[in-house]
Amino acid sequence: MHSEPHALPSTASPDGAQSAIEPALIFDFAQTVWSTVLGADLTDTATGMAPGKESTLTGRVRISGAWEGTVAIECSPKFAAWAAARMFDATQTSTEEVHDALGELTNMVGGNLKALLPGPSRLSVPEVGDSDGAGDGAMVRVVRLDCDGEPIVFKLFVRPNAGREEVR
């Protein structure tokens, strides 16, 4: 259902390890997080974010070790605020709480994806900002989903120095 339209060609890496992460798996992990934490469903969409329409908030976690890369989730500030309200069970949330909520959603998706990649590796604490992911490496997966009309984009980046860092 969710695989072929969003599959990008895998960028060359020493072992092609990210090929284990099919777009359908990203959808499954994301849907589990969304339904369990937010009580919401994700649906497949080919459109993704509308560039320039509004600012984009990005949550990202880095994976370091035998495999090196980044898991990122892009959404609108409006959606992030909605998610934060659900997670905090509040009608209004602060910017800090909105970032916290998106960071934790990213952490959960990233932690599950990390399990499919070669180890040992380490998951970073999440970062949230409005950058476009430049510097994260080569994007090898992008999955564009929709949550009640709000586009949510999941991206997987790989950095070329995979396997160089020792993980304790």
Binding site: T36, A101, E104, G110, G111, N112, V125
Partner: protein, 120 residues
Amino acid sequence: MRVLVVDDSKAMRMIVARTLRQAGYDSLTLAEACNGAEALATIRAEPPDLVLCDWNMPEMSGIELLTALSSEGNRVKFGFVTSEGTEEMRSRAKEAGALFLIAKPFTVEAFQEALKAVVL
């Protein structure tokens, strides 16, 4: 029973507290810490009966906290609540002395299963 919830995410600390109530543990006294270092100070000052701890946190991780507690001879009941639920992580947690590992995202049932032998 006093439970210390340790997570750098305020949202997750709230969700853990909410899930504990939904799991039927609504008589617990909850305290919070936002990283391992703060938790260590809290545990030393006011020992809890159970620690529910994230793994990846700034300043001091959950596994570093558990190791520090063990080195002090502190045998407080300790469980992880983390986004990483692989067998490797579960083995590391168990070897370090953790009683259980609950993987995020979790359900009420996951908490009930993990805590049934721990919470009196």
